[in-house]
C-alpha cells in the first residue's frame, strides 16, 4: 500500500461511517486525496444557519504534513481572507500527525465560533472587528445570508 496510505483510507471510511455533526466530507471521485467539505455555521455565531463549502486536500506527505484547507464560500471572518485561506495554527506550525481530517474540520468549525482578530489574516476585517465588533458581526451575518445559504452552496 505504498501509494495511498491506509491511514487515508481509514479516515475516509470513518468519515463516511461516523459523520461529525454539522460537517460532511466527501472524497472526490477522481482524486481520493481531495475532499468536498461542507461545514455548518455554529449556532450563536454570526455564521449560524450558513453552510460553508470548503475544499480539503491531503498532500503527498500527509499525515506528516498538514492538509490544505480553503473556504470556497465567501465568509467575513478576521482569520479567513478573501481567497478563503485560513489562519489556523494546527494547519501550519502546530500540525501534528495525530490530528485527522475530522479534528481539523472541527477546529475550523470552532474558529467560526471564536474569531481571533488579534492574529488576523485579513487585516481590514480584523481592524473592523477590533474597532467595531458589533458592526463587524453584522457584516458577517449579512455575508452569511448572502453567500452561505443552502441554495448558494448548491449552485456553487
Amino acid at each position: 500500500m505504498a501509494g495511498l496510505p491506509r491511514r487515508i483510507i481509514k479516515e475516509t471510511q470513518r468519515l463516511m461511517a461516523e459523520p461529525v455533526a454539522g460537517i460532511t466530507a466527501i472524497p472526490d471521485e477522481q482524486n481520493a486525496r481531495y475532499f468536498h467539505v461542507v461545514v455548518a455555521g455554529p449556532s450563536q455565531s454570526p455564521y449560524e444557519g450558513g453552510l460553508f463549502k470548503l475544499e480539503l486536500f491531503l498532500p503527498e506527505e500527509y499525515p506528516m504534513s498538514a492538509p490544505k484547507v480553503r473556504f470556497m464560500t465567501k465568509i467575513y471572518h478576521p482569520n479567513i481572507d478573501k481567497l478563503g485561506r485560513i489562519c489556523l495554527d494546527i494547519l501550519k506550525d502546530k500540525w501534528s500527525p495525530a490530528l485527522q481530517i475530522r479534528t481539523v474540520l472541527l477546529s475550523i468549525q470552532a474558529l467560526l465560533s471564536a474569531p481571533n482578530p488579534d492574529d488576523p489574516l485579513d487585516n481590514s476585517v480584523a481592524e473592523h472587528w477590533k474597532t467595531n465588533e458589533k458592526s463587524a458581526i453584522d457584516q458577517a451575518r449579512q455575508w452569511t445570508q448572502l453567500h452561505a445559504k443552502s441554495n448558494s452552496v448548491n449552485s456553487h
Binding site: 495511498l4 491511514r7 481509514k10 481520493a32 495525530a98
Partner: protein
C-alpha cells in the same frame, strides 16, 4: 458485565492498540519519553527532524532528542506488545477472555452480531466479514430481507445496506487505481533520482582528476622551488668565481709591479757599474771630486744590494685564497628541504613564508623534527622492552644531532611554545587518521579522513607516518611513560648526584616556603619547561612533546620519588623497584594549585533526560586523546560526551540488556586507545566501546566467581591497558585484560588492611599503583598492580584527612590524590603517600557546593571534573 459492555471493551482495547499516526494496529510500538506510543516505521521515523535530531510527539507536541541510533533506540512499549500478542488471533483470544470473565457462554455468532456495527466501520476487517458471512442473511446487517449478491465481492447484501456497501467498494476500487498511479509515479521518481547517482560518479571522477592535478601542481612547485634555489646557487657560483678572478688579477698586477721595480733596479745598477768601470779603465786622470762622488754612489748602491741580500727587501708575499664550501648546516637543510603538508593548513604555510628566507629551512626542519622526535620517543619505548641500557643513547638520534647547530636550537627555544605545542597536535591528528584506517579498516566516515584519502601523499612522509602509527599502536602510552620517566630518572641521577634523603615540610607548605636551599629549590619548584630542559640532556624531548601527554613524563618520576622516600612502607615496592635507591625528590606543591580551587570554572547539567541533562551522573572520565569528558548518566542509561569546556558533543547508549545498552551504568574509564570502558552496573558486566561510541565487547555476568561481577561500580585502566573493576557487592577488585580475559582479583569483605567493604571507585597512578575508595570503610587503600597491599589512609570523620563514604578518586600527574569525600560533600587532596594537602567544597547547590559526590577526573590542564550527583550536574574546578 453485560455482553455489550464486553464488546465495547474489546473495541476500546482495539482503539488503544491503534497508532494515532497511521491509525493501524501498532507495529513495533515505541514509547517516547512523554509516554506516548507510536509505530516505529513509518510513523516515528517519518517524524524525525534530521536537522535538529529531535522528534515532536504528535500527541502532546513535546520535543524529544533522538538517540544516536535513531528512533529505534526508544524503548519498546512492552504493555502494548503484550496486548497485541493477546489479541493477535483476530481478537478471538480477547473475546474468549471477556467471555470467561463474564462467566457466561455465548454463541460466537451472537458476539459477532454485537460487534457488527463497529466492524462495518473498520475497513481492514471487510475481508474478514466477507469470509465470515456464510449464513444466508445480509453480510452487513444479518437481516434476511431482499438479498442480492454484490457484483464485486460475491457478498450477500440486503437492499438497505447495499448503498453503503457499494460506496465502500467504490472507494476501495478507486483507491486501488490510486495505488497503481502511485506506483507509476514513484517509479518515475526513482528514475528521476538516478541522475543524482551518476552525478555522484562524475563528481568522484572529478575529485580523482582534481587529486591528480593537485599532485601534478605540487610536483611542478617542488621543481620550481628547487630550480629557484639551483639558480641562486649558480649565481653564487658565478659571483664566487668572479671574486676569485678579480683577486687573481689584482695580485698579479701587484706582483708585476714588484717585478718591474726589481728589473729597473738591476738595469740602473748595471748601467752605473758599466759607466763607472769604463770611466776608470780609460786611464785618464779622474778629477778628485768625481771619484768621491762615485764612491758615495757606490755606497748607496751597495746598501741597496745589501737590502736585497739580507732580505730587507723581499719578493712580495703571495696571498693564498681558499674556498670554504663545507657547511654541514646547509647540507642538512638541503637534505630536509621542503615539507609536504597533507591537510589544508593555509595559515601555517603562510607563517613559513613570512619568515626571513634564510631561516625558513630551519623552521621547516624544526617542524619535521617534531614528529621525528615522537618517533625517537616511541622507539625508546620499544627499546625499553628489549634493552634498557640503550635508552640513554637512543634519544640522541642522528636527526637531533644535525640540528644541534646553535641557530637551530636558538630557533627552537625562541619559537612560540604554542606553535610547538600545536604542531605535534596537528600532526597527531593527521596521523591518527591513516592510523585508524589501517588498523581498524573502517570505511571513511568523517571529513578529515576523506580529505586525507584525497590528498597527495609523499612517499617519504608516508612511510614515516606508518612507522609512527605502528609504534603508537603497539606501545601503550604507559610503556612510553615508564621508559621516559626511567630515562629521566637516570639522567637526573647522573647529573646531580645524591640529594638529601629527607625533607621536612608541613601540611600548609606554600610555594614560597618550598624554596629552601639552592638544591632543594630547583627540585621543589613546580617543574616547568625550563627545569626540564636545564636538568636533563634529553630536555629537547620534552619540548618535542608538548601535546597532552607531555605532562606525564617528568612528574611521574617526581611523584614516584616522593612516595618512595616519604612513604616508608613503599620502599620495597616491587613495581618501581628500579627507583628505590635513587635520590628522593619531593613535590611539595602541586602544579594544579589545589589550594586555590573551590570555585567552579564550569558548571553544566540539570536534572532531566534531554541532552546535556542528567539523572544522577556517576562516573566521569577524560579521554587522553582529545580531553573530552565522558559522563555516565546513570538513570538515563547513557553516556554523554562533552568537551573540556562543558559543551555537549554526543551521547550513546540506552536502557536495555543487549549489546550497547545499559542499566544504571556507573564507572567509566578511557584507555590510551580512546576505548571507553563502562561498568554496566545492574547488568553486572563491563562494556567496551570504541572512541566513537560503537559497542565493541562486553564481559562479566552476575556471580561471585572469577570474572563474575556483582554490581560493578568504578572502573580504571592502567598504562598497559589492563582494566580494573570495583566489584562492589563482592567487595573485591578484579583485573581483566583489555579483551575481557580475567587476570586476577584481590580483596574480600572486611575492614582489615587489604579488605574491602563496598569499594566504589578506583584509579591507577601512572606508576601503576592502584588507589581504591573503600567506601564503607571510609578510607583509601593503595595496592601494587599485583594486588599487594601497600598502605591505606583516611578514617571516618569530618576532620581534615578524614572522610565519610569516599567515592570518586583521581590521581594527577604529580601523584596528588583527589578524593570525592561524598559524605562530607567536599573534595580532599592528598599527597601520594596519603598525607592531607588541601580540600574544598561544602553541602548545597551553589557554585562549589555538592550534594553527594560520585566520580571525578582530572583534565589535561589540571582542572578537576566532579560529578555532583544529587544536583545532577558536573562541576569543573
Amino acid at each position: 458485565m453485560t455482553s455489550s459492555e464486553m464488546s465495547l471493551g474489546s473495541e476500546h482495547v482495539q482503539r488503544l492498540l491503534q497508532c494515532a499516526v497511521c491509525l493501524e494496529r501498532f507495529k513495533q510500538p515505541k514509547i517516547l519519553p512523554c509516554q506516548h506510543t507510536f509505530c516505529l516505521t513509518p510513523c516515528l521515523e517519518g517524524l524525525v527532524d534530521r536537522r535538529t535530531r529531535s522528534i515532536r510527539c504528535p500527541e502532546c507536541r513535546a520535543d524529544h532528542f533522538v538517540p544516536r541510533n535513531g528512533v529505534t533506540s526508544f524503548p519498546n512499549n512492552l504493555t502494548v506488545i503484550g496486548f497485541l500478542e493477546l489479541s493477535g488471533s483476530s481478537g478471538r483470544a480477547l473475546e474468549n477472555m471477556s467471555r470467561s470473565e463474564a462467566g457466561e457462554v455465548l454463541q460466537t455468532s451472537r458476539i459477532r452480531e454485537l460487534l457488527q456495527p463497529q466492524r462495518a466501520s473498520s475497513p481492514q476487517q471487510i475481508p474478514q466479514d466477507a469470509a465470515g458471512a456464510e449464513g444466508p442473511g445480509c453480510a452487513v446487517c444479518r437481516n434476511e430481507g431482499r438479498i442480492t449478491r454484490c457484483c464485486h465481492c460475491d457478498q450477500l447484501v440486503c437492499e438497505i445496506c447495499r448503498r453503503g456497501h457499494m460506496q465502500q467498494y467504490a472507494i476501495i476500487i478507486m483507491l486501488s487505481q490510486q495505488v497503481r498511479a502511485d506506483v507509476t509515479r514513484m517509479i518515475s521518481q526513482v528514475r528521476r533520482g538516478m541522475p543524482h547517482i551518476s552525478e555522484q560518479i562524475i563528481a568522484i571522477g572529478r575529485k580523482g582528476s582534481q587529486l591528480q592535478s593537485n599532485c601534478e601542481s605540487v610536483k611542478v612547485e617542488i621543481t620550481e622551488a628547487l630550480e629557484k634555489h639551483i639558480r641562486e646557487l649558480k649565481i653564487r657560483e658565478r659571483t664566487l668565481r668572479e671574486d676569485v678572478d678579480t683577486f687573481l688579477a689584482g695580485e698579479l698586477r701587484n706582483l708585476r709591479t714588484h717585478q718591474e721595480n726589481a728589473e729597473v733596479e738591476i738595469a740602473s745598477l748595471t748601467s752605473f757599474c758599466d759607466t763607472a768601470e769604463s770611466f776608470l779603465s780609460t786611464g785618464r786622470p779622474v778629477p778628485e771630486g768625481d771619484l768621491v762622488e762615485m764612491r758615495g754612489q757606490c755606497f748607496e748602491h751597495l746598501e741597496n744590494v745589501q737590502c736585497y741580500e739580507d732580505g730587507t727587501i723581499r719578493p712580495p708575499n703571495v696571498k693564498q685564497i681558499q674556498a670554504s664550501l663545507e657547511s654541514p648546516f646547509l647540507s642538512s637543510t638541503i637534505s630536509n628541504f621542503g615539507d609536504l603538508v597533507i591537510t589544508t593548513r593555509a595559515n601555517q604555510t603562510q607563517r613559513h613564508t613570512s619568515v626571513d628566507e634564510r631561516l625558513e629551512p630551519v623552521h621547516r626542519s624544526l617542524t619535521s623534527l617534531l614528529p621525528q622526535g615522537n618517533v625517537s620517543a616511541s622507539r625508546l619505548s620499544d627499546a625499553y622492552q628489549g634493552e634498557v641500557r640503550a635508552l640513554s643513547v637512543s634519544p640522541r638520534s642522528t636527526f637531533l644531532s644535525t640540528l644541534m647547530d646553535s641557530s637551530a636550537l636558538d630557533e627552537s627555544s625562541q619559537t612560540d611554545p604554542r606553535t610547538l605545542a600545536s604542531s605535534p597536535g596537528v600532526s597527531q591528528r593527521q596521523l591518527s587518521s591513516p592510523n585508524r584506517t589501517s588498523q581498524e579498516e573502517e570505511p571513511p566516515a568523517d571529513n578529515s579522513r576523506w580529505n586525507l584519502a584525497l590528498q597527495p601523499t609523499h612517499p617519504h612522509r608516508r612511510s614515516r607516518y606508518e612507522r609512527r602509527s605502528d609504534t603508537r599502536i603497539t606501545s601503550t602510552p604507559g610503556g612510553r611513560l615508564q621508559t621516559l620517566s626511567q630515562m629521566r630518572d637516570r639522567t637526573r641521577h647522573l647529573s646531580l648526584g645524591a640529594l638529601p634523603a629527607t625533607n621536612e615540610y608541613s601540611e600548609e607548605n606554600t610555594p614560597e616556603r618550598d624554596t629552601e636551599g639552592p638544591v632543594g629549590r630547583s627540585f621543589n619548584r613546580p617543574a616547568t619547561n625550563e627545569d626540564r630542559e636545564e636538568v636533563s640532556p634529553g630536555g629537547d624531548l620534552s619540548v618535542t612533546f608538548p601535546g597532552a601527554r607531555s605532562y606525564n613524563f617528568l612528574p611521574s618520576t617526581l611523584r614516584y620519588n616522593a612516595s618512595a622516600a616519604d612513604a616508608g612502607d613503599s620502599q620495597s615496592d616491587p613495581v618501581s623497584g628500579f627507583n628505590s635507591n635513587s635520590p628522593s625528590i619531593y613535590v611539595n606543591t602541586p602544579r594544579n594549585k589545589y589550594n586555590q580551587k573551590g570555585t567552579a570554572v564550569v558548571r553544566f547539567g540539570q536534572r532531566g533526560n534531554e541532552p546535556a541533562s542528567f539523572t544522577w551522573p556517576r562516573g566521569v572520565s577524560v579521554s587522553p586523546l582529545d580531553d573530552n569528558i565522558y559522563v555516565s548518566d546513570s538513570s538515563n542509561h547513557r553516556v554523554q560526551v562533552f568537551d573540556n569546556s562543558g559543551k555537549f558533543l554526543k551521547t550513546f547508549g540506552q536502557y536495555g540488556q543487549s549489546e550497547g545498552e545499559f542499566d544504571c551504568l556507573a564507572g567509566v574509564a578511557i584507555n590510551g586507545l580512546g576505548q571507553v570502558i563502562i561498568a554496566d552496573r545492574y547488568n553486572h558486566r563491563v562494556q567496551v566501546f570504541d572512541r566513537n561510541g560503537r559497542f565493541q565487547s562486553a564481559f562479566g555476568c552476575e556471580g561471585s566467581g572469577e570474572g563474575q561481577l556483582n554490581y560493578p561500580w568504578g572502573v580504571a585502566c592502567d598504562n598497559m591497558g589492563f582494566i580494573y573493576v570495583c566489584d562492589k557487592e563482592n567487595h573485591r577488585i578484579q583485573v581483566f585484560q583489555s579483551n575481557g580475559n580475567f587476570v586476577r582479583m584481590f580483596g574480600h569483605f572486611g575492614s582489615r588492611p587489604g579488605q574491602f567493604e563496598n569499594p566504589h571507585y578506583i584509579a591507577v597512578s601512572p606508576d601503576n599503583k592502584v588507589y581504591i575508595s573503600d567506601s564503607s570503610n571510609h578510607r583509601i587503600q593503595v595496592f601494587s598492580m599485583y594486588g599487594d597491599f601497600l598502605f591505606a589512609f583516611g578514617s571516618c570523620g569530618v576532620l581534615r584527612g578524614q572522610m565519610k563514604f569516599p567515592r570518586g578518586i583521581a590521581i594527577d600527574n604529580q601523584g596528588f590524590v583527589v578524593v570525592a569525600d561524598s559524605g562530607n560533600n567536599r573534595i580532599q587532596i592528598f599527597r601520594a603517600d596519603g598525607r592531607f594537602y588541601s580540600m574544598f567544597g561544602s553541602w548545597g547547590n551553589e557554585n562549589g557546593q555538592f550534594k553527594g559526590l560520585e566520580g571525578l577526573t582530572i583534565l589535561a590542564n589540571g582542572n578537576v571534573v566532579v560529578s555532583d550527583r544529587e544536583n545532577h550536574r558536573i562541576q569543573i574546578f
